[in-house]
Every structure is written in structure tokens, then in C-alpha cells.
């Protein structure tokens, strides 16, 4: 068990799948499934190792620090790695149902998705600020390509817009890294954390890195590129962007704050991020309530959930940290389930206009059950992963006597109940069945599986929370 290079395998498995998929185009979907399952097994291996032995470090190519690059898996990395791998397997399976086998869309989707997954796993296991930059770029560039697999002008222009925002973000980030390296001569997060002191260089680097990542995450009010990109992409792409890939900039920001900036700079910048996150929660939830299209509604709901996760910055502490990690993984399941359900509805009725879904729940019962169950987690109602996560955050807010953060989380939950019920209300109106419809039971089952996972996270939170606590800040 210890002899197996699990960390390396989580990166190599999707990479090999992607490269082989480019060559063996006929078998690309099967290859993707095999490589997704292998990645999931490797991720589980990492989680078991971390649960047993604590944080694991590997020096790549046996080059030691400070020159070499380390892979590092602590509790947070292992938890997110496993959760993303599980959601990733579901998304691969859904894409096999969604795309015509051998079609051009399938041939470009699967390798790009596996490349994105490679970048994502490398990012989760990175422990230095420059490696985080490279892996973030890998993930972003492949995500842009994934959005563009839609092929129509709307998808292409939203992909381009996404790319331009991301380029600006990565340049800001890189300049911040340059400042840090110029001042301290190290890139590793732990080494940096040991030498960083309060001063103009640190403030400058903090501002640049935070702005860059806030553009990419996105943090309110820099989210302009997101709704169009998520809504115009093919459904499997929206599901994986919103559920999995869309969390990676936030993850990098948390890593860097925990490792480098959190201690020396005090609470003021964290409170600023929290205020923007809170504004994002309220604004995006209200906008989500007013959407006409289901995919846009889910996209805005994703911005709101991301905003909630940003509240871990002002609440930083063990419980809030666990809550943030928990919200990441439960939203990964819930968002993917919601997008798959929305995609099924769109494919069956030919549109996703919320006001024209009357009576559909009788014809697509499983689809709407999956949407509703995922909605329960998005609202933060028990029993769901979303509830556990928000409860941990709310509890921390009260422990700090800062009830306003708790109020934001609760109002965000109420607003998400409003938009989820708005979708369901129309759909459950009795309507005569006019025609029988062809539908995909497989995609319904996948959406339902993801939604049930989000619920299961609420029923059995002990194991994931114990894993997240490995190496967490005290």
C-alpha cells in the first residue's frame, strides 16, 4: 500500500487516458471511463494513506527542496481529490450518454476533460506557488477548450471572454509570485510561510495574487464571464466546470492564505474577501431567482455557493475550514446533479425556459427528483452535505460573535429555496400528458446518484470531516 505511488498515479492516470484518447479516437469514451476509474482508485489510495499516516510529501524526480518540486497531500487535498474523482467518474459516464459515440464533440470532449483532470489533480497536490500557477493554467486553458466544444458562436465567444479574464488573472497572480520570489528566494508554501513578514512586498504580493485568483474563481463583482460560459457550454462541460474545475482558483487562494498570508497580515484583507463573498451570495441568489433559463439559474446558483465558500476567509479556524471544504465537495455533487438534470430537461423538451416546464415532473419524475434533492443540498437543509457545511460556518460565526456572516448564509439558503421551488412549482403542476417522450434513464440515474451523494454527505459526515482535519489549521 505504501509502496504504490498513489500521488503520482492520480496525475498520470488521466494524463495517459487523455494522450491515448487523442490517438485512439474510436475508443476514446471507453478509454476515458477506464482512466476515470483508475484516477478514482488512485485518489482513494491517497486518501487512505493520508488518513493513516498524515500529510504525505513526494519530491518529484528526487530533486529536493528548495530547488525541486514537491507533491504534497494533506487532509484537505485528499478529501477534495476523492470527492472530485467520484464526481469526475459520474461526469465521464454522463458524457458517454450525452455525446454521440465517435462524434466530433465526443472526440474533443474526452481528451480535453482528462487533460483538465490532470491539471486539477496536479493542482490539488501542488505545494509551491509557481507550480500552482502552472497547474492552474493547465486547468484553465483546457476548461476554455471545453467550453468551446459547444462549437456555436455563443459558446466560442463566451470561451474567448473566459480566456481573456483568465489571462488577466494569471498575469496578476504571476507578478505576485515574482514579488514573493524576489523578496524571499523560495517558492514552496511552507518555506514561504516561515519567512514572510508584514511589509509592503507582502501586501503587494497579497493584493496581486488575491485579485488574480478572484478574477478566475470568480469572486463578486468579477464574475462577468461565468454565466454565459456555463450556460453555452455542452451539459457535461457545465457540470464539470461548475462542480469540479470551477473550485480550483478558490482552492489555490485558500492554500496560499493558509500557508503564507494568513498569519502575518491580520484579518482585514480576509474580512474584505468575506464581504465580497457575501455580496456575491446575495446578488447571485437574487439574480438566480429572476432567471428565465434553467442552465443560467444553476450557473448563478453556483456563483452564490462559491460566495458562501469565500466566507471561510473571515471565519478562518478549524470548524470554518472544515465547513468550507465540506461545501466544496457537497456542492460538487449537487451542482453536477443540477446541471445534468437541466440538460436532460433541455434535451427532452427542446428548451430550458423555467416558465414553460408545466407538468413536466409527471413525465420526467426521476429528473425532477434529482434536481429537488440536489436543491436540498444547495439550500443547506438537513440532511445534506450543504447543511453540515453551512452549519459549521454558521456556528463559527456565532462563536466569533459575528452574526452577520451567519445571516448571509441563512438568507442565501432561503433565496436558493426560492429559486429551486420556483422550478419545481411549475413542473409539478398537473398537466395532461400529450405525447410520450424519449428520455435517457441513464442520465437520470447519474443525476440521482450525484444528488443522493450530496445527501449522504449530510448523513455520514464523520469520515470526510476527520480526513479534512488532517493537517488543518488549529
Amino acid at each position: 500500500m505504501r509502496g504504490v505511488p498513489w500521488l503520482e498515479l492520480t496525475i498520470l492516470a488521466p494524463l495517459c487516458g487523455a494522450l491515448l484518447g487523442l490517438v485512439l479516437q474510436r475508443a476514446v469514451a471507453v478509454l476515458a471511463l477506464v482512466s476515470s476509474l483508475s484516477t478514482a482508485v488512485a485518489s482513494a489510495g491517497v486518501a487512505v494513506l493520508v488518513a493513516r499516516h498524515g500529510t504525505i510529501r513526494r519530491s518529484v524526480g528526487a530533486w529536493e527542496l528548495p530547488l525541486g518540486i514537491q507533491l504534497r497531500a494533506d487532509g484537505l487535498a485528499a478529501l477534495v481529490l476523492v470527492a472530485f474523482a467520484v464526481v469526475g467518474v459520474f461526469i465521464t459516464a454522463y458524457a458517454m450518454v450525452h455525446f454521440e459515440p465517435g462524434s466530433r464533440a465526443a472526440r474533443s470532449f474526452f481528451p480535453l476533460w482528462l487533460f483538465a483532470w490532470t491539471g486539477l489533480d496536479a493542482l490539488l497536490l501542488s505545494s509551491d506557488v509557481f507550480n500552482l500557477y502552472v497547474t492552474l493554467e493547465l486547468t484553465t486553458l483546457t476548461s476554455v477548450g471545453l467550453v468551446a466544444t459547444g462549437g456555436d458562436p455563443a459558446a466560442l465567444s463566451s470561451a474567448l471572454r473566459y480566456l481573456l479574464f483568465a489571462m488577466a488573472g494569471s498575469l496578476l497572480y504571476l507578478l505576485g509570485v515574482a514579488l514573493l520570489y524576489g523578496a524571499h528566494g523560495v517558492l514552496d508554501l511552507d518555506l514561504l510561510g516561515a519567512v514572510v513578514t508584514r511589509g509592503p512586498v507582502t501586501w503587494g504580493a497579497l493584493a496581486l495574487i488575491t485579485c488574480g485568483l478572484a478574477l478566475k474563481a470568480p469572486l463578486f463583482p468579477l464574475h462577468g464571464w461565468l454565466p454565459a460560459a456555463y450556460a453555452s457550454a455542452p451539459v457535461p462541460v457545465s457540470a464539470l466546470l461548475s462542480g469540479v474545475v470551477g473550485k480550483c482558483s478558490l482552492y489555490v487562494l485558500v492554500r496560499i492564505w493558509l500557508g503564507v498570508f494568513g498569519v502575518p497580515l491580520g484579518r482585514a484583507p480576509a474580512v474584505l474577501i468575506g464581504v465580497l463573498g457575501a455580496a456575491g451570495v446575495l446578488w447571485a441568489s437574487i439574480v438566480a431567482c429572476r432567471q428565465q433559463r434553467l442552465k443560467l439559474l444553476v450557473a448563478y446558483s453556483s456563483i452564490a455557493q462559491l460566495g458562501t465558500i469565500f466566507l471561510v476567509f473571515p471565519l478562518m479556524g478549524r470548524a470554518a475550514f472544515a465547513g468550507g471544504a465540506y461545501l466544496v465537495i457537497s456542492h460538487a455533487c449537487a451542482a453536477a446533479a443540477m446541471f445534468i438534470a437541466a440538460g436532460t430537461i433541455e434535451q427532452v423538451v427542446g428548451h430550458d425556459e423555467i416558465d414553460r416546464l408545466d407538468g413536466l415532473a409527471h413525465r420526467l419524475p426521476l429528473t425532477f427528483v434529482a434536481f429537488a434533492l440536489a436543491g436540498v443540498s444547495a439550500m443547506g437543509m438537513p440532511p445534506s452535505g450543504g447543511f453540515v457545511a453551512k452549519w459549521l460556518l454558521v456556528r463559527t460565526a456565532f462563536e466569533l460573535h459575528e452574526w452577520w456572516w451567519a445571516a448571509v448564509i441563512l438568507i442565501g439558503g432561503l433565496l436558493s429555496a426560492a429559486y429551486v421551488f420556483r422550478v419545481l412549482r411549475g413542473a409539478f403542476v398537473p398537466a395532461p400528458i400529450t405525447e410520450t417522450i424519449r428520455r435517457s434513464r441513464a442520465s437520470d440515474l447519474l443525476a440521482l446518484g450525484l444528488a443522493l451523494l450530496a445527501l449522504a454527505l449530510g448523513l455520514a459526515p464523520d469520515l470526510p470531516l476527520a480526513l479534512a482535519a488532517q493537517g488543518a489549521p488549529s
Binding site: F130, D152, L163, L171, G182, P234
Partner: protein, 101 residues
Amino acid sequence: MPPWLAYAASGVSLFAVGMSALVLHGEVMRKILAANVSASGVFLVLVALARRAPKGPPDPVPHALVLTGIVVSVSATALALALVRQLRHGAQLGPSDERRR
């Protein structure tokens, strides 16, 4: 002003010029060029910071970072240009009609 500081300062100004053009200009090609100008600024800063002691050899790590950064920047630019080209030619890959079910 020591020479390395002059280089670093011009790097920062290039970065700022590029970044403001990226934000202010509406035309896509200008935005892509602006991002490249801005990237060159960051690379100049990194190379300037590689100077360690007045007489000693420069630090090789920032040079490696710049090389990696250039690869990333070229890839991002290529992707952006490919997207612009697809948009202008109105080429349709058309996966919407390739969906099953």
C-alpha cells in the same frame, strides 16, 4: 538607480500598460496583444529579480520560471487566436445536432 531596479520598474510599467489596455480596449485582438505586453512585463520583472549579488552569477530559478511562463503565455495566445479565427469564419462544429437522445 541600480540597473536591475530600472529593469524591474520598466517591467512593472509594461505590465501596467498592458493590463490597462486589456481592461479598457473593446477590440479582441487588442486585448490579446495587451495580455502579451503585460506578460512580457512580468517576465522582465522576474529576470531583473534574478540578479542576486553585485558580482555573483544570477539566480537561475527565475529564468526557468520565465521559460515556463512564456510557454503558458504562447499557449494561451494560440488558444485565444484560434477562438477568434473560429468566430470570424463562423465555422460550426455543430455538436448540437450530434446529440443522442
